[in-house]
Subunit: 115 residues, 2 copies
DNA sequence: TATAGTACTTTCCAAAAGGAAAGTGCTATT
DNA sequence: AATAGCACTTTCCTTTTGGAAAGTACTATA
């Protein structure tokens, strides 16, 4: 009997993809990054720009994104303390992914709709 | 007093990205697609090629991916019934996303490592 | 007849995620 | 003095996810 054909290794692709997913996976991370990217800086502005997100989810995701250096939290000690969130240079490296997802999302909607 | 500056809308980007995420979000979907993409066809081969995945997760994800037409489940009524999973033409549209994630994952590891 | 392989399913249970609603501490405005 | 806005946090509760382990139904092989 012939030797059993072994499975094909694909860790070269799977591992980096998993590394990327560990950072940007989830329902809200990319939406928040996009919102900050178009210029929303305040907590409530970001929240208002993303339908369905709760302040609890916002706070949690913002913290994680800050830890991953994808957004920056800036405290301004003016008369009223002001907190702003900003897009980092490092976040620029995500634009190819965001663009690819946007293009695919639009195509997929067509695909589903035209069926 | 000046009128309150309103938040900036970003639904044009957020909505399609969310549509895409709804389909490919999760820990295992892209790894499975990649594994089938390199040529693994059998349940156990796919499972063996992805470290850490359980048969329960496999079965669930394979079903969902089939529903989204990203993989095809083929039953061959030979002597022992044989089931194979195949990459669909439609799954080709995902390669830009997979490539972008792979590139970013590799860069991100460098970034974390060199710090 | 006994063992092994394939492709799952089922059960159990712990941990994580997710949402609604209310609360907090601060300041600015009326 | 009362109200409102900002940036959250806290509580409560339900749902989802995730893994370990065992089980099942079938067939092929020794």
């Amino acid at each position: 009997m012939a030797a059993k054909k072994p499975y094909l290794s694909c860790l070269d692709s799977v591992k980096p993809v998993r590394d990327a997913l560990d950072v940007i996976n989830g329902k809200w991370k990319l939406p928040i990054i996009i919102s900050v990217g178009v210029g929303n800086e305040r907590f409530t502005d970001i929240q208002d720009s993303i339908p369905g997100i709760t302040p609890k989810a916002m706070a949690k995701e913002l913290k994680e994104l800050e830890q991953h250096k994808l957004i920056q939290r800036i405290i301004t000690n003016d008369y009223p303390v002001k907190i702003t969130y900003k897009w980092t240079t490092y976040a620029n490296t995500l634009t190819p992914i965001i663009d690819a997802l946007k293009v695919w999302g639009l195509k997929h909607k067509q695909e589903v709709f035209n069926k």
